[in-house]
């Protein structure tokens, strides 16, 4: 008898229509997601064209004036082969350097600088752009704009950020940024933009964008980021999807046999219509965005012509078509007097957007085909029936369901989504679409290019050389991974040895007061782990009991920190100290479950103590012991408290979990975005999943789960 369960069956009615509707809705939904991502990326794209144009113009001016003022300090001039002109620009001498020099030399050079025609032209042209193309010109305006995060990094340390709320003491907010600019000219540090755009590294853009004049210098890179929500195309595609769903109504009148196949064929047609119309839209938007920059180009040309810096349009176009950093430039032609976009150059971007879309759409299509098939076969009715008949049950569990979904499901999905973005730590911009970086974080964590470069890929070598992200002086992912596995392995060995040993001893009825030993030996498991970790750290530390013990038996030089291997093993031991009682309890209950007859038979056959233990008892309790060892090893793998508090967060002994925690809690690691930390978490999740599945496969645990 089932309490409170209704027995009602929904009739199979319009299933095919609803199936079509559901699957088209799914198609539309994923299309919408793409639309959202792409609309925001396109805004970036526009900014990028603007910036390449500006950068290339400044390069033109630079080249026209030829050479540079010699760099007197000499410290920064390390020219490397194959670097972009931009980095050359910074290192040799540039507007940036010019300012640095002028600052350090005092007022006289400031005058000199003003007279320097190169600087004047920079100021003039960039000033023109700033006032005419909506870039913020002064502090007041800058504050009202929605800005990308700006972080000031000196050496490896973050010393300033544009975000006010999440800053610790000693950090500077954007309100003081203009002061920072001035300071930075004196102290010579670089303001870097750590966010990554859709396919561009902005740090280089921002460094280059430092020429306007004294008030806008030193890497205050600001790029407007209007938040775009694609209303018009959204409504259009929604209506289109609805209309396309109506095609399915006539199917009702077809014979039963071919219904489903006709339905699937129609779905394919619908998907193709949606695809072609959307890809046309995509191509058009890419085109129109680049078209919007046209007036800027012709204005720039006019300015340069006035100054006599450029003679022909062809020459200007040549400069414009150069790539900046890792931004691919849009090239222009000037056939009929005006500036036109080179079709092949535009095609590159159109294809880029289209490829990502095609991939997403393909997955969406397969999904919606599945949904269609499932609901056409009556899957929808099944769910309706379930929800109606079991409504009381769902009342029972609905709160738990919702809470588990909100508190665990959402964060989990959020982590995975976040890992494909460069979401900044300061959360000033939560539009994930705009910060989509694909697999960049994973590539960075796994040092893919580093490995490729070692194998001998030329392109990877270049990337490794030019990227600051590979120069990190703390353990990389692989080191931490190996460390984690070694730690888990040793710790599990110790805890299983101790646990089984004590269980076997305490299983003997003739051992006196074994109940008391059992209670005492369980203590490590029940004492809070954070206390255990701190306790062991203190006990092994300078004034600890172990130090005193060793001193009294003559080992005065004893120092746990002296030898890294010993220290590492001590971490394993402390972790095992916490976990062995669990193994002990499980083994003990397993041993007590072995029937007397088996024990007697073993004794009569004359089996020795070791033979009995290893050939009879342990194999008998294997089904209980192995899953417990698995559980215990997972806990050890995840034992954040012990490792983090015992080592005091020491980098050299990090395991994967404590490393993730470091990204969040340690100020000096704030150069990493939340996206990076999320990607790290996701990788740990995958590793753990593989470990569990592998272990489960080996011990055939899966059969026994229910």
């Amino acid at each position: 008898m089932k309490l409170f369960v209704k027995n009602y069956v929904f009739s199979e009615g319009q299933s095919l229509f609803w199936a079509a509707f559901l699957s088209i809705f799914l198609l539309f939904f994923l299309l919408f997601v793409h639309l959202w991502i792409i609309s925001n990326s396109l805004e970036n794209f526009k900014t990028e064209i603007k910036i390449t144009a500006l950068m290339n113009t400044s390069k033109l001016i630079y080249d026209k004036y030829g050479g540079a003022t010699t760099n007197e300090t000499g410290t920064k001039s390390q020219t490397k082969k194959g670097k972009s002109w931009l980095s050359f620009y910074e290192e040799e001498s540039s507007g940036f350097d010019l300012l640095l020099q002028s600052k350090s030399k005092g007022k006289e050079t400031a005058k000199e600088k003003e007279e320097n025609p190169k600087f004047k032209d920079f100021s003039y042209i960039l000033g023109y752009i700033v006032t005419n193309y909506g870039l913020p010109a002064d502090e007041k305006e800058l504050l009202t704009k929605d800005l990308w995060n700006i972080e000031v990094i000196k050496g490896e340390k973050l010393i300033a950020s544009s975000d006010i709320e999440s800053l610790d003491k000693g950090k500077i907010s954007i309100k003081n940024l203009f002061r920072i600019k001035k300071d930075s000219t004196e102290n010579n540090f670089v303001v870097e933009e750590r966010n990554r755009g859709f396919f561009v590294g902005y740090d280089e853009v921002i460094k280059g964008y430092t020429f306007k004049d004294e008030d806008l210098t030193v890497g205050v890179g600001y790029i407007e980021k209007p938040l775009v929500f694609p209303y018009t195309p959204l409504i259009f595609y929604f209506i289109l999807s609805l209309i396309l769903a109506l095609i399915f109504i006539p199917i009702k009148f077809l014979p039963e046999k071919i219904k489903l196949y006709v339905g699937i064929a129609l779905l394919i047609v619908v998907a193709l219509i949606l695809y072609s119309s959307y890809s046309n839209y995509l191509n058009y938007t890419v085109y129109s965005k680049s078209e919007e920059v046209k007036p800027l180009i012709s204005d720039l040309f006019k300015l340069l012509q006035e100054k006599g810096l450029v003679n022909s349009k062809e020459e200007f176009v040549q400069y414009l078509s150069k790539e900046v950093g890792d931004i691919k430039a849009i090239s222009y032609t000037s056939t009929d007097g005006t500036f036109d976009i080179e079709p092949s150059s535009l095609k590159y971007y159109q294809n880029l957007f289209l490829t990502t879309f095609t991939l997403i759409y393909l997955i969406a299509f397969l999904l919606s085909l599945g949904v269609f098939y499932y609901s056409a076969k009556g899957g929808l009715e099944k769910w309706l029936n379930a929800f109606y008949n079991y409504s009381v049950v769902y009342i029972f569990i609905i709160i738990a369901l919702l809470l588990v979904f909100i508190l665990i499901g959402v964060p989990f999905l959020f982590t995975i989504i976040m890992s494909f973005t460069s979401l900044s730590r300061y959360l000033s911009d939560l539009n994930l679409a705009r910060q989509f970086v694909g697999l960049y974080n994973y590539q960075d964590i796994l040092n893919i290019h580093h490995i490729l470069a070692m194998i001998g890929f030329e392109k990877s070598k270049e990337i490794v050389e030019s990227s600051p992200f590979f120069v990190r002086n703390f353990p990389n992912f692989y080191q931490v991974l190996i460390n984690t596995f070694l730690y888990t392995f040793f710790s599990v060995i110790i805890q299983v040895t101790l646990g089984v040993l004590f269980a076997v001893i305490l299983n003997d009825n003739r051992v006196k007061i074994r109940g008391m030993y059992q209670v005492l030996l369980i203590l490590p498991w029940v004492i809070p782990t954070y206390i255990s970790a701190l306790l062991w750290r203190e006990a092994l530390g300078q004034y600890g009991i172990f130090k005193q013990l060793f001193d009294s038996i003559g080992l005065e030089g004893f120092n746990i920190y002296a030898n890294s291997t010993v220290y590492f093993l001590s971490i394993c031991f402390v972790s095992a100290w916490y976990a062995f009682p669990f193994i002990m309890i499980v083994t003990l209950s397993g041993l007590q479950g072995i029937s007397e007859s088996v024990k007697d038979a073993a004794l009569i056959d004359g089996a020795g103590w070791f033979t009995r233990l290893f050939s009879i008892y342990l194999p008998l309790i294997r089904p209980t012991l192995l899953p417990s060892v698995l559980l215990s090893s997972i806990w050890t793998f995840n034992n954040f408290n012990i490792v983090y508090l015992y080592t005091g967060g020491n980098d050299a002994y990090d395991i994967l979990i404590t490393r993730i925690y470091d990204f969040v809690s340690r100020p000096d690691l704030r150069v990493f975005t939340y996206g990076y930390a999320a990607a790290y978490s996701t990788l740990v999740f995958i590793i753990l999943l593989i470990y569990i599945l592998a272990f489960a496969r080996i011990t055939k645990l899966t059969e026994r789960t229910y």
Binding site: V404, V410, V664, A678, L688, R704
Partner: protein
């Protein structure tokens, strides 16, 4: 021969228990002696210089009059108790529903609950931080409680589901036949019979929150809002070893007793998913 063997076993057990529990013994000992004895307590014992008369409750008095410590104690108690209550109540409802009905989606839900138990909470810190700061709950005890609920809820559901699996549904059916409605069924039948499992779930959730360090350290930046774990850590950071010792003893004792009380159920519950047929 046999006798010598058992004497050796006893010696081995005593030695290993002392060695393994040495840090625990040490911390209990120094919590009862004054600060100046702390650093040399071992040689004091060795030379027989440690007298019972020098026992003192000073450390306890000191820590119990420390307004910070009392505040941490209060914070921890509030957070742990409220999370334990909510988690147990929701776990009770869900555990009953899952145990009694074979509804669609049950298996998926159960497996996902089990899977969440295997993954560390440190992995969730990043999204939690973001969500909580969006909700404006960062740095508050409410936000912390929500994060804790995520860790304790799956286990509570699991424990209570396991409990209801072992109880036949005859009583409930009898009650319904006698005309009890849903609320009466819960109030008069289900809650009374599931009291032991409710206690286990409550204690486990309580202790989990009581002991949690990682999240609270990241979430709470204000010292007056600290819960016990970051608070006790901060005692140590300030080189206050005797205060630390007294605090550790005070904080651990309830946990140790509560855990000892539910230890059997706990071991059964955590291995339930993997061991039980």
């Amino acid at each position: 021969m046999k006798r010598i063997y058992y004497v050796l076993i006893q010696v081995f057990l005593i030695l290993s228990v002392i060695l393994l529990l040495l840090p625990v013994l040490w911390v209990v000992l120094i919590s009862f002696y004054s600060r100046d004895l702390m650093r040399t307590i071992f040689s004091e014992i060795l030379h027989g210089r440690l007298h019972l008369s020098s026992l003192t409750l000073g450390n306890y008095l000191y820590i119990l009059t420390d307004p910070n410590f009392l505040q941490w104690l209060l914070n921890s108690a509030i957070v742990a108790a409220s999370v334990a209550f909510v988690s147990t109540f929701i776990g009770f409802m869900a555990g009953y529903g899952i145990s009694r009905y074979q509804f669609p989606g049950r298996r998926v839900f159960l497996i996902s609950l089990l899977v969440t138990q295997l993954f560390p909470i440190a992995m969730m810190i990043v999204p939690f931080l973001i969500i909580m700061s969006l909700l404006g709950l960062i740095g508050t005890l409410q936000g912390l409680s929500l994060a804790y609920l995520a860790t304790t809820l799956p286990f509570s559901i699991w424990i209570l589901k396991g409990f209801f699996d072992t109880v036949p549904s005859d009583i409930e059916e009898a009650a319904v036949v006698d005309g009890a409605n849903l609320l009466q069924l819960i109030g008069y039948v289900l809650i009374p019979i599931s009291r032991p499992a409710l206690a286990t779930s409550f204690i486990f959730s309580f202790v989990t929150c009581w002991n949690e360090y990682a999240i609270s350290f990241v979430f709470l930046s204000d010292v007056s809002l600290y819960t016990l774990p970051p608070g006790i850590k901060s005692l140590l950071d300030n080189n206050d070893l005797s205060g630390f010792a007294a605090a550790v003893v005070l904080v651990s004792i309830p946990v140790v007793f509560l855990f000892m009380y539910i230890r059997k159920e706990l071991v059964e519950s955590v291995t339930l998913g993997s061991v039980k047929e």
